[in-house]
Symmetry: C2
Subunit: 331 residues, 2 copies
């Protein structure tokens, strides 16, 4: 069988079943299956470790993104995983493969983007590796973070009756990508600066996550990297629950609505299935929804944790399954 | 200017000078420039972090190495960095990019190799990332380790008069590569099994490093990943010293001598400049050379730390500069 037939989730399950990947316990506080691994850290804190790879032609096209933006995005993606665990980013380790004919000035810009993103969220580049590649440029960022043991957020704590909240808007990043595809970088950026920016220079929700965790009312959390349709099932599976999402409650920006018209796409669909928003998905104590929204700022209640399957409820009362998001290997 | 004109060392210096990379201090005990970064760890220990990327067609050709061996080698390369710091490997995070048409069975073998190498040296796979790539398969391993603060080994501690020791044999891995290039995998493996094995399934010197550090007589240490000719200057530069290497003392295996004849290459040259041996290079108190050799096992005194430049002393008494080893980007 080929990887493309198996898919990423089944691959990881298969590798875990063969005993290649450590289970939680015996030194590893939380292993594979959450946004970051959790290890014992200094001063009674937990250390968080996450790693993400971005590759040219799979994750981006160089004509769409500046080196500075690419550096920022590589680091932001991993910092978002630390935020999703309720943690604070500490140290960033970029392992980078570049073509030998890359201009040094564009490497400066790449690192400036990485360093500025890291610092913006309290981290610094502390090491890494640089390599030459013959083919596509490749960026693998390992991000460390720390979190107090009583503040750690997992995917597995959602309870039936919890309300489902998301920060910011959904679908902006995906629509930015679609605009780049359809109009090219110059026109897309001129017409829809914010949407393209959402795609190329995402803002991980570190402060929002810390504020949410501080309320004590968040039972489960993760970041939306593959899209609500792909990520919500992961949270539900980890928690052993189902969910109902209300389509008309999805936070959709005015710009996304305008873009959806021009793209001849459905804004709700983009919001429900678009990846790389890097917003927070939370399951929250129903009695404390207002206090979480107050603490986080721009945050919307979009549904409820239920006993059963995962469905999207449309405005006419009918229910349908959530459109799935990004699936590695299956392109 | 292109990366290929600048080179890896100058690139890192350039990025550091622009302030993109954290300096040692303020939470980062040792930053860029050693085999691993050093951070505060749990229980009064230091945490070590190292990351290495291997890419198809740059670091290996798939026809030369089995998926199992490739998995092993990816992890071994990073574990060797932990050993070089005097540490013990703890957790392994592989970030992997594979072509979608990769057979799942070969991914099993890849992970079996990674997991077995990790476990052989006390580590376990605790997370990671899997991605699809359009071009070359890519492997970025982040390896964590731990070390007692009083046992940490840096590149910077070498003193004038120290003796230079290396574990094992030098040049075996490089000759294995040359044999694969010249004869192809089947013939090379049949004729020179050990040399090819040195190249495809290297053994990091974790135990030897711990034994050496235990003597209290090792002042500086690193692993030989780019070859003696490229790595010794790094240790000397970090320590602000020079060195003399005695060509006739380089530990050269009988198999390497035989292979050098067939390859029409010079065995001493292969030993002095060949990369990927992953042996330990140590600067040792001259009064304690015997006790370090006794503690480590197969270890050879090959030279001396001096005030001045780095030279190789030939058997006729003349001196020449050390042939440099592997340089990224400059191929």
């Amino acid at each position: 069988m080929k990887l493309s037939e198996l898919g990423e989730e089944a691959l990881i399950k298969r590798l875990a079943e063969q005993g290649f990947i450590a289970k939680s316990g015996s030194g590893l506080i939380v292993g594979i299956g959450d946004d970051a691994a959790v290890l014992p850290g200094p001063d009674g804190m937990y250390t968080l470790v996450t790693t993400d790879m971005l590759t040219e032609r799979i994750d981006y096209l160089p004509e769409w993104i500046t080196p500075y933006e690419l550096g920022w995005k590589c680091v932001a993606v991993s910092i978002s995983d630390i935020a999703a665990m309720g943690g604070l980013p500490t140290w960033t380790f970029p392992s980078i493969g570049l073509k030998p004919d890359t201009e040094v000035e564009s490497v400066d810009e790449l690192y400036r983007g990485m360093a500025e993103c890291a610092r913006r969220f309290g981290s610094e580049i502390a090491g890494g590796d640089t390599n030459s590649v013959k083919g596509d440029d490749t960026f693998s960022i390992t991000q460390l973070g720390q979190v107090e043991p009583d503040k750690i957020m997992l995917r597995s704590g959602a309870k039936i009756g919890d309300r489902i909240l998301v920060t910011g808007h959904l679908g902006d990043s995906r629509s930015g990508l679609e605009l780049l595809l359809k109009y090219g970088t110059e026109e897309a950026r001129r017409k829809f600066a914010h949407l393209v920016e959402s795609h190329v220079i995402p803002m991980p929700r570190v402060q929002e996550a810390r504020a949410a965790v501080g309320t004590g009312a968040v039972h489960a959390m993760m970041d939306l990297s593959d899209g609500l349709g792909a990520d919500l099932p992961k949270l539900c599976k980890a928690s052993g629950v189902g969910a109902v999402i209300y389509a008309d409650k999805l936070p959709i920006s005015d710009e996304l609505r305008r873009a959806a018209d021009m793209l001849d796409m459905d804004a709700t669909q983009l919001a429900a299935s678009g990846g790389e928003d890097f917003e927070l998905l939370m399951a929250v104590d129903p009695a404390a929804v207002d206090s979480v929204i107050l603490a986080c700022g721009s945050t919307t209640e979009i549904g409820e944790i239920v006993d059963g399957v995962i469905q999207m409820s449309l405005s006419d009362g009918t229910r349908q399954s959530l459109t799935s998001g990004w699936e590695h290997f299956a392109q």
